[in-house]
């Protein structure tokens, strides 16, 4: 991570209004989906966002993809604030940032041939001539392990793993700098997951593309990511290089999350930290540290003041009063 980061997120915040009434709606509260998060992803690097449902990882992805507008804060790709872009710069942004979604059964149009699906980013953004498009599609299809002859088939003629390869090809064809991977393997069968994970890792090396990986399966993030950020109720509670985080997790939530993960062998006995209760509503998040009502180590100050992120080791940030 020497040069300027490909993606930079600063103080990013998204609050959704909770409204009442049909015609005369009034705002009765705010869902604090994402609340002041910051991170960056270097070229050719993978940052994983992990957390349970409702922690804001998908909203973060949408903010980066310009599918939602932030309440506050900035998303910078390649040095440009993506939410102020327009015209030609916006077209370029759309080629530079791509996404692969969880479910390849619903993310690919059933009425388009593979060739059209894969070429779409090039066609829409007017990036290449029709001859070039044909070549690029063939090149990318073979890069993801499909035969160029398969370009004339429809998505329903493929299995789940192959469909996800098509989705990856479509994301890669415009030579993006950043691909947002939203649970890219969790809809696939176990024996197919490894194929796709290996493919993504290989393509990252080959094309030097950055990944923002959103996953709830911790072992997947350990395999694929260089850096992992743990989110809880709209905030990043801990962020560290992958190995560091997995060998010495610090935040009580990270520890609980790791201890709840299923073991890879029956003899691996984890210290079981079973959290009581469930994630509180993001409409009225708890005061102070948002984790304090479920935290086994909560002290008095945890319910009063919000902990600010501290750097404990190189690149290892944690937001907790214990440190």
């Amino acid at each position: 991570m020497d040069a300027a980061p490909v993606l930079r997120v600063d103080e990013l915040t998204k609050h959704f209004p909770v409204t009442e009434g049909l015609l005369w709606t009034k705002v009765v509260g705010w869902v604090k989906a994402v609340d002041g998060i910051a991170f960056s992803v270097g070229q050719g690097q993978t940052l994983a966002l992990v957390g349970e449902s409702g922690c804001g990882k998908t909203t973060t992805a949408k903010l980066i993809l310009r599918l939602e507008r932030p309440t506050a804060g900035t998303v910078t790709v390649d040095g440009e604030d993506v939410h102020t872009l327009g015209g030609e710069a916006l077209k370029q942004y759309r080629a530079k940032v791509q996404a692969v979604f969880q479910d390849p059964w619903s993310s690919l149009s059933p009425r388009m041939r593979v060739r059209e699906i894969v070429a779409e980013p090039l066609v829409i953004n007017g990036l290449a001539s029709s001859h070039e498009i044909k070549e690029r599609v063939a090149e990318i299809l073979s890069a993801v392990g499909l035969r160029p002859q398969q370009a004339d088939l429809y998505p329903h003629e493929f299995s789940g793993g192959q469909r996800q390869r098509i989705a990856v090809a479509s994301a890669l064809v415009s030579r993006p700098k950043l691909i947002v991977l939203d649970e890219p393997v969790s809809a696939l069968d176990v024996s197919i997951r490894a194929q796709i994970m290996n493919l993504l890792v290989d393509l990252q090396r080959q094309y030097d593309v950055s990944f923002l990986l959103i996953a709830h399966h911790l072992a997947t993030t350990r395999y694929m990511a260089h850096e992992v950020a743990v989110m809880y109720l709209g905030q990043i509670v801990e962020k560290a290089p992958t190995k560091e985080l997995f060998t010495s997790p610090l935040h009580p939530y990270t520890k609980a999350l790791f201890s709840a993960a299923l073991p890879a062998h029956p003899d691996i006995a984890r210290e079981e930290i079973i959290l009581s209760g469930e994630v509180p509503s993001p409409i009225n998040p708890p005061s102070g540290c948002r984790f304090h009502p479920r935290c086994p180590f909560a002290m008095r100050q945890c319910s009063e003041t919000e902990p600010s992120p501290k750097e404990i080791a190189a690149g290892h940030m944690v937001a907790c009063h214990l440190y």
Binding site: A194, Q195, N198, L218, P266, I274
Partner: protein, 339 residues
């Protein structure tokens, strides 16, 4: 995790469940045998289409009709042949003696009835009782699955409670009639990790308290490692390997089990590269005559392609269907170089 296990409660022998479709006969379950003791947890692992759910549905005789039929084999519950029972007699078995938890609590609860009513519905079928005592039983049931403030919760509708809570309610319904066997079909896949841990612990506590025999249907070896005593690995309708959980993890003997185990990333160590199984499972209506894994197996030879291997014993209670085990063969872990 070693619990005292009791007598054999369920015995399945050579079970065949076929689906007769327009495109041909889908051999969803093609010769599966196992037995289950009281207080024991059996894991059935496999990918989608391997026949694990059809095996479970066959135990309850709930296979989708008219397409699917149990064509061969026997299922004995405490010595009684379930396949010989009439539909009426089966109704006294379902819920009362064998019960099931499905994957998605969102769809297994009825949105227009309160959770109290749905619990009562299940209890009522097997225990005729007055309304007041049924409500008390329902509250008791919710307490058993650690639902907080059960007196108020009985009046809630499914949409008013969280996913983890819903799955607890489904669990409460499943154990409300004190079944001997509980089948859990991917019970935690729709739950978050920390909620999953709570739920698995709950199931284990219930099992310890009631000496329930549990069947876990899953694609996740993590669940198997955490919960099960014995495992069956299914592939394309066959149980290709079965044995005690530690043996399966320490000495996986079928190439499919080996490949599956080495294709799962680990949270506890760095893996340089995952092994990945090439290709896909065969179509169930067009199965190869030999070993069903042969097309994807790095060790397959001509015999594998033409003759289905018999089960070879590789340890106490540990068998695998692979010709390579005929000669003494110590399985080597897969290297990641072939992907």
């Amino acid at each position: 995790m070693s619990r005292p296990v009791g007598d054999v409660i369920l015995e399945v022998d050579d079970l065949h469940t076929y689906c007769f479709t327009r495109w041909g006969v889908v051999k969803a379950v093609d010769g599966v045998s196992f037995s289950l003791r009281q207080g024991e947890t059996l894991g059935i692992v496999g990918e989608s289409g391997s026949g694990k759910t059809m095996t479970a549905l066959s135990l309850l005789r709930l296979v989708p009709r008219p397409a699917a039929r149990i064509v061969k084999g026997s299922i004995r519950l405490a010595g009684e042949d379930l396949l010989a029972k009439s539909e009426r007699e089966m109704r006294a078995v379902r819920g009362r003696r064998i019960s099931m938890i499905l994957q998605d609590p969102q769809t297994s609860l009825n949105p227009v009835f309160t959770i109290g009513n749905q619990l009562i519905e299940a209890i009522q079928i097997h225990h005729k009782d007055g309304r007041g005592s049924l409500v008390r039983r329902a509250i008791e049931g919710l307490k058993q699955v650690r639902v907080a403030a059960p007196e108020r919760r009985v009046a809630d509708y499914p949409h008013q409670i969280s996913g983890g809570m819903k799955q607890r309610v489904v669990g409460a319904i499943a154990i409300s009639c004190e079944p001997k066997v509980l089948i859990a079909d991917e019970p935690t896949t729709s739950l978050d990790v920390t909620i999953q841990a709570q739920y698995l612990r709950l199931l284990r506590e219930i099992q310890q308290a009631t000496n329930l025999a549990l069947i876990f249907i899953t694609h996740d070896f993590g669940i198997v490692a955490k919960m099960c005593d014995r495992v069956i690995v299914m592939y394309a309708g066959r149980a290709v390997e079965s044995g005690p959980v530690r043996d399966i993890f320490n000495r996986p003997s079928h190439p499919y089990t080996q490949a599956l185990l080495s294709s799962v990333p680990s949270m506890d160590e760095d893996v340089a590269r995952l092994y990945s199984i090439a290709g896909q499972p065969p179509a169930l209506w067009d199965l190869p005559e030999g070993c069903r894994f042969a097309a994807r197996c790095p060790h397959a030879d001509d015999r594998c392609r033409h003759e289905y291997p018999r089960a070879f014993s590789v340890g106490e209670g540990h068998t695998a269907d692979c010709w390579r085990l005929e000669k003494e063969w110590t399985p080597r872990p897969f290297s990641a170089s072939t992907s």
